[in-house]
Symmetry: none
Subunit: 240 residues, 4 copies
DNA sequence: AATGAATGAGCCTTCATTCAT
DNA sequence: GATGAATGAAGGCTCATTCAT
């Protein structure tokens, strides 16, 4: 197994991002121009963002009531406003704390892979499932998709900090396989899109279309995806 | 009753939403100020669903105010309730009018296909792009994804009326190719999932992540997807 | 039997009041100061007031929608406004047409009673039940009670045209009995109140508290009332 | 949950609505402009139901706007929803707080009655006038009558909690008098109906027909009712 | 720091009323 | 005379946000 995110860290909401940087430069400052109140940024309780993540993922941003977030976190509603200027600021903090730390850890640990590129690809796909796609964190992409129109700034942030870095992981694996002759030559960017897409659909199915009668078995699904992918990447005579 | 359309409009099978004419061409409507009462009950529903589609796709279901829908359609808020029992019924009508007729047309046209299964698959993919994925209608899947948690009934409806029928189109193409020996044998259901997924991601990218700097060229993207797909489906010695 | 109201007249809504008097002096003119539109007062369709009576009695004034009145009368909603300036004007017309004609007829026919005063009282009570209390018309008093605060002018009208005249009937019966020595001497006005009250309660029970489990048998109820009444009115040594 | 009163307030058995002090005596409340947030969650519910009683009795349930209730109570509209889940729940609370405690008190006090049954009856009738019929609470029965068709659940509640218990008081008084030979034998249930009716009419007159010119003197009215009643109940030779 | 009562703007929905046809 | 599509002013209810304690 390649990726190593201790999942308990992700779910406790322990921030890897907002530890001791000066408050002004943190991405949180993007939340709004007004910063009259001083907040203890170092003590910002992760319980709040953890509770909010649960509810945002479950019900969406608008349908989540701050009363419920506060109740789930075991605090009063007013307390939320000690740490976040608004519901929107809370939303941003949830995204930042929930996903970004994962990638940082992943990149470090993936750098040392040795073995075939097919193996690398397999590790990437199934590692993603184990640590993100199959966990509650998979709700975050769905959340971003749903709310990006109303929070374009947030979508940009997610793109820059998550998507770009995630694609870089895949790109290096593809380029390595192409260089070694394991994969045929094709445009890596578009290939990445096509590789990522079924993963995206898997979490969408889990979080959005789960009410339909049809069940998807993720193992089979990912297996088929990987199978098609490896066949498709394999160097061969063009079909037409 | 949840929907009060004159049924003949629904069954024409052509989208009234995306004709090339501007939605309101009558000189009365262009008067600028609130136009006097117009007597055209037959044209109203499509005007309303067209306005609603724009806003739903743009802002999501909850964030769309009926005042805005009415204003965009050039009517008063109360008029909406002459045609739809509720905001949710309007939502449903948007889906129904926007997507369902297209599937009917597609089924008819594809029934008479002759030629290779690869051609059939190509026709399906690029036809989808031409009539749905590349049009404003592509916002609908994004809409369903975003709102399904809060409106499971709607997701079920979309699943039954759209997803099931869309998958059936792909399934027959796959089974045909497997039967003829053009494609290798694999589980059609999971293959369908993998085929659909990049299409889904394309519309998600268009409607949710469009704010990011990165542009996707749909033609190239779909071409790569199709290329990978045809290679992956081709009968050959297994890779491992 | 003393009273002679052909019940079909009452229910058809055939107006005995607003036949050919000049429009300005009719009580309807009280409805509002504005009288710009000329209406065919002579042709004012009784179907409209009949339909309105049913619904007003059944659901109350506010809860009755003009759509329903129009639908029950088999006309369009706009037609109502050809005959009545407002919902309130319709309400007044309903009261006027429904009850007032009854009293006029009753007074004429009751003038010629001969026999004991106890018999007269019995005829009054049970005749009321047969022609009003037990019919749908009994909903009108309940309607007046419910809406009088919001239509004080209407309550006044009902008092002057209905209550005063109804009390006069009872008063003459009591005075006759007192004069002949059948009844002991007591204040007729208050006695009338006490006599009327159980009748009122009967219709209230029928139209307001009918949902409670308890059933009232009107015959028994009126019998007991009459029995207590005759005992109470009988001349005798005072009890205390 | 339909009602969120601190239960201890409900069980004190004393009406908080009709104390002699003006409802808002705190100097803050007299400031004229919107008073700042006051911290008195315990006193709020009674202030709200008091304001609601006034308006419900005056205008009826439907015609009473929650804005007006809130304004009369000196709070914002949202505050109502801190204490009552809906307008209907507020209605129910008005009934419950206004009437039920009085019945409990009445039952306690009357259990210890000694003396003639005629005295007991007199005590019941005039006690009713003193504590209910003559106070603002007398608007409640009128309220129930007016709204029961549209809120049958409420009528049922009132029947079970108020009418049944009130009738039980009268029944025991009647049965006591029959047993002792003070009253002649008759069906107690129907007699109760006939006894209650004039009381009902009195409050209806006060709250519905008060606009008419005629005044009823309650003392005289109740006196006549009681007089007729006692004569009518007295054992004697049947009249016919 | 933490609380939670209070606020008030905003939204969906209803329905009496109008008026072009 | 009749129609019925269209209007728009309210009203019930929600919930993010504030602030006195």
């Amino acid at each position: 197994m390649t990726w190593r995110f201790p999942p308990d860290i992700l779910l406790t909401g322990q921030s890897l991002l907002f530890s001791d940087e000066p408050p002004v430069t943190s991405p949180v400052a993007l939340a709004g121009t007004r910063t009259p109140r001083r907040r203890r940024k170092d003590a910002r309780p992760s319980e709040l963002t953890a509770a909010a993540l649960e509810l945002f993922v479950d019900k969406g941003f608008t349908a989540t009531r701050l009363d419920d977030v506060a109740a789930r976190a075991g605090v009063s509603k007013g307390t939320l406003y000690l740490y976040f200027d608004s519901k929107e600021a809370l939303f941003k903090a949830v995204i930042e704390e929930g996903i970004v730390p994962l990638l940082a850890t992943a990149e470090l640990q993936l750098a040392g892979h040795s073995g075939s590129s097919v193996d690398l690809l397999r590790k990437l796909l199934f590692g993603w499932w184990e640590h993100i796609g199959g966990t509650r964190l998979a709700g975050v992409p769905k959340l971003i998709i749903s709310e990006s129109r109303n929070f374009p700034e947030l979508a940009q942030y997610y793109h820059d900090k998550v998507i770009v870095r995630g694609r870089a992981l895949l790109r290096s694996a593809l380029q390595r396989g192409i260089a070694s002759g394991e994969f045929r030559k094709l445009d890596p960017e578009t290939a990445i899109d096509v590789i990522i897409a079924p993963l995206l659909m898997l979490v969408i199915w889990r979080f959005s279309l789960c009410f339909c009668g049809r069940e998807i078995d993720p193992e089979t699904y990912l297996g088929t995806h990987f199978d098609l992918l490896v066949h498709g990447l394999r160097p061969q005579k063009g079909i037409r």
